[in-house]
């Protein structure tokens, strides 16, 4: 298990500096790959449409996931509901490269997350703060992403979650060693993980940003704030020119520190996704699964 966990953390390391794009068809997957995505997330409906449709949102049809796996050579991820370990078993049976136990789908369990240590394939989970991130890691997640607020095209939650995670890390790093025990108790996480953060000033796994990225500038902003890479969901295929926007976002993540280049590649991208403000929506996906 521990060797498998290392290999799974290693795959996340290979994704760093990259953009992972939500896709719903093999055609979209090919566009994402051709635009420079480092992985794709296969799902039935992108978050913006999940919001519009309402109802219960579940794991995608395995046939659709297989279609996407056959269409591209880059890693393919897929989402299962929080706590739904049978959906996760199905995704493992499909040899998925990464499972996202995701708040974007309707939770299957209001109390427990999946015991991810029981799986061979890796998991990525969302977090709004360090406590959530470390609880998911204790359960076996080998990659973390900020939750943001999916399907809104509004970056505000991704920003506050990334700032919260890194702010918490800085606080733990600055503590005296004898204060770490209470910090672990207050955060409801194992002491060993708090000790790791104190010593290394970072999470023990790769940390991406997700939820609300719609423009190259949004993506670059998240990298400045400490994201090691970016998930883009509705932002690409809900926009006017998906291929051009996707390529621009990929370039903006690599050259996040070059405003001149980001200015150029932000030109003429067509219409961005319309977006809704976080305070205009009824369902806050980020509150699911703490």
């Amino acid at each position: 298990m521990s060797n498998r966990y290392e290999l799974n953390k290693n795959l996340a390391q290979m994704l760093k500096g990259g953009v992972i794009m939500d896709v719903t068809t093999p055609e979209q997957a090919k566009i994402a790959e051709a635009s420079g995505a480092c992985a794709v997330m296969a799902l039935e409906r992108i978050p913006a449409d999940i919001r519009a449709a309402g109802g219960v949102s579940r794991m995608s049809d395995p046939k659709m996931i297989k279609g996407i796996q056959n269409a591209v050579s880059i890693p393919v991820m897929a989402k299962c509901r929080i706590g739904h370990f049978v959906e996760a078993q199905i995704l493992q049976a499909l040899e998925i490269d990464y499972i996202d136990e995701s708040e974007v789908l309707t939770p299957a369990d209001n109390i427990n997350h999946i015991d991810k240590t029981k799986f061979q394939v890796p998991f990525v989970c969302g977090a709004r703060n360090l406590g959530e991130a470390l609880r998911r890691i204790a359960e076996g997640a080998s990659m973390i992403r900020s939750k943001g607020e999916a399907g809104t095209g509004d970056i505000v939650q991704a920003v506050s979650h990334m700032r919260a995670i890194n702010g918490d890390i800085n606080k733990i790093a600055a503590m005296r060693e004898d204060e770490l025990f209470v910090a672990a108790k207050n955060m409801q996480v194992p002491y060993e993980l708090i000790e790791y953060v104190h010593k290394n000033k970072k999470l023990p796994v790769v940390n991406f940003s997700a939820g609300g990225v719609a423009t190259p500038a949004d993506a670059a902003l998240m990298v400045h704030l400490g994201a090691e890479g970016v998930f883009v969901g509705s932002g690409i295929f809900k926009s006017g020119n998906p291929e051009k926007r996707a390529t621009a976002i990929v370039k903006a993540v690599t050259n996040y520190n070059d405003p001149d280049m980001i200015a150029k590649l932000s030109e003429d991208l067509g219409e961005a996704m319309v977006g809704i403000n976080e305070d205009e929506i009824k369902i806050l996906m980020a509150e699911r699964g703490q």
């Binding site: 290999l7 290693n10 390391q13 290979m14 760093k16 890693p75 998925i96 490269d97 061979q120 370039k251």
Partner: protein, 192 residues
């Protein structure tokens, strides 16, 4: 000694950490103008080869890098880096830098469930830990001066040709410095 690390996407920081622990100076290459810096060696890190290739061509860096390598710049490619250097890629018509006379197969061990690690012999430096993540391997060497440095179960996983060194595995993900020392001592210093 100054090493440029291609930092378009992937695990480039891990290479920098390892090289700096060996006393080399490193810098990141993220766009065309970064190639104007003078440097003694180049790292092509692991990551997604399609992503790195896309960025190399979008950022107009392919020709310049290819020229530098053809003119003898020492280069070390791991995993995706191996794919970028290969002159032939199985089941794929496009190649990237295409400077090394090898043919490789991408995702040759399958999806993430096929990723593995093992200790095995590398050239004349003995056993090293080898971490394979959705890794390629070399299916064929197509020139007499390509030297095979490591094999796992009969598959070629490391090779060199003059100034070019490739591994299908990731020494930068371990804490074993032997392969990076090999690059500094046997590829860069030999080519001086």
């Amino acid at each position: 000694m100054k090493i440029g690390v291609l930092a378009l996407q992937g695990a480039f920081q891990e290479h920098q950490n390892m090289l700096e622990s060996l006393g080399a100076e490193t810098f990141q290459i993220r766009q065309y103008k970064d190639l104007n810096t003078k440097f003694d060696g180049l790292i092509l890190p692991g990551g997604e080869s399609t992503t790195i290739y896309k960025l190399l061509s979008e950022l107009n860096m392919l020709d310049d890098l290819r020229n530098k390598i053809q003119n003898g710049l020492p280069v070390f490619g791991t995993c995706a880096g191996l794919i970028l250097l290969s002159k032939k890629i199985k089941n794929q018509s496009t190649t990237a830098l295409s400077t090394m006379d090898i043919e490789c197969s991408r995702n040759a061990y399958g999806r993430q469930l096929g990723s593995f690690s093992v200790n095995s012999n590398f050239a004349d430096i003995g056993e090293v830990p080898m971490v394979f993540i959705r890794a390629p391997y070399i299916t064929q060497v197509n020139a007499n001066d390509v030297e095979i440095l490591a094999k796992i179960d009969g598959k070629i996983v490391a090779a060199k040709q003059k100034n070019q060194l490739v591994t299908a595995f990731h020494p930068e993900l371990t804490n074993n410095i032997k392969v990076h020392s090999y690059f500094l001592n046997n590829i860069i210093n030999m080519s001086k």
